[in-house]
Symmetry: C2
């Protein structure tokens, strides 16, 4: 089946800071004409960071036999203006122009939680809203964490929070965590 | 911590068919001023539809002891204009104004795949891009399918395809399926 859609004309209807919006006239493969509204986004990164030490045993070396119950995931609590709600999400952020996704992931994890990680695993990418947006999020797992300090972006008010892996999965399944990128990173990681 | 952001002024910068875009001036809880770009979307539905009968045994009654290897998930292959790629996604569609999500899920499954389902399970919802969009997707699992006929929307060219559950999970983990809503529905369902 031929799925191609050919761009006949492209018009920028909004050119903002985080997004740009196009309205394109297209020709569908069956010859009919239509228009497509497209949100252009620079893409972003998402980090599933796993902490093996409890806050009270920060000086203890991580044990190779540590179980899931001793492992926590770093989340951030943040007001999300589009839905006017405080959401629990994995640390994430948008790519700066031309930025390498892996470097961005390292930067965002440290900015939002204060942690650096020694071990990183590539969990691929997802498209968040392929019907109308080109946003592509690169997912990473980060392990062997060590604390430096938080320094969030200006205008970004967030609270880092640690949640045990099993509790986080329960919260996802109960609908207490509803952020799509967070579910995607959990799915692609090997906990499940 | 007070996360609230107060709207000082709201401006519609684009009012289209699928999306509307706002540019709002806000006051953050620390007193600083900022602006927020918001994509308004009517929301949508996603259906993880599970077929227990193989195409060659359509007349055979479903067996309660059927294993994962005998169960398939209905996908649709579709050209996604924002990334100019053909993607594999679960059947999905946007809510019409005021439409009940469950009714929309039934409608979209039949429109896109030709199947109706007798058993439906609510899998909650996700926010696809909470940083800049209010899009909320309601997730459902559909079982006990029976074929009627496909009647996709005008201008919607798609190909339904059945994939064994285990193969679909492999494809997600290998990065061959990268649609966020699809991963979310799989996570919330009980296969994993």
């Amino acid at each position: 089946m031929d799925f191609t859609e050919k761009t006949l004309n492209s018009q920028t209807v909004y050119d903002g800071k985080i997004i740009k919006v196009l309205k394109d006239d297209v020709e569908i493969s069956d010859g009919t004409k239509a228009f497509r509204e497209v949100v252009k986004h620079s893409g972003g990164v998402v980090v599933l960071a796993i902490k093996t030490q409890s806050p009270s045993s920060a000086l203890q070396a991580p044990s190779p036999t540590i179980g899931e119950k001793d492992r926590s995931v770093l989340f951030v609590k943040q007001f999300r203006y589009p839905m006017k709600e405080v959401l629990l999400e994995l640390p994430a952020g948008k790519l700066e122009y031309g930025e390498d996704p892996f470097k961005a992931a390292q930067r965002e994890l440290e900015e939002e939680t204060g942690y650096c990680a020694d071990n990183w695993t590539d969990l691929g990418f997802v498209y968040t809203s392929p019907g109308y947006s080109d946003e592509k999020l690169y997912l990473y797992k980060a392990e062997n964490l060590h604390f430096t300090q938080c320094h969030p972006d200006e205008g970004e008010i967030l609270e880092p929070i640690e949640i045990k892996i099993d509790d986080a999965i329960d919260m996802i399944n109960k609908g207490e965590i509803n952020d799509a990128k967070t579910l995607c990173a959990f799915f692609r990681s090997k906990f499940i």
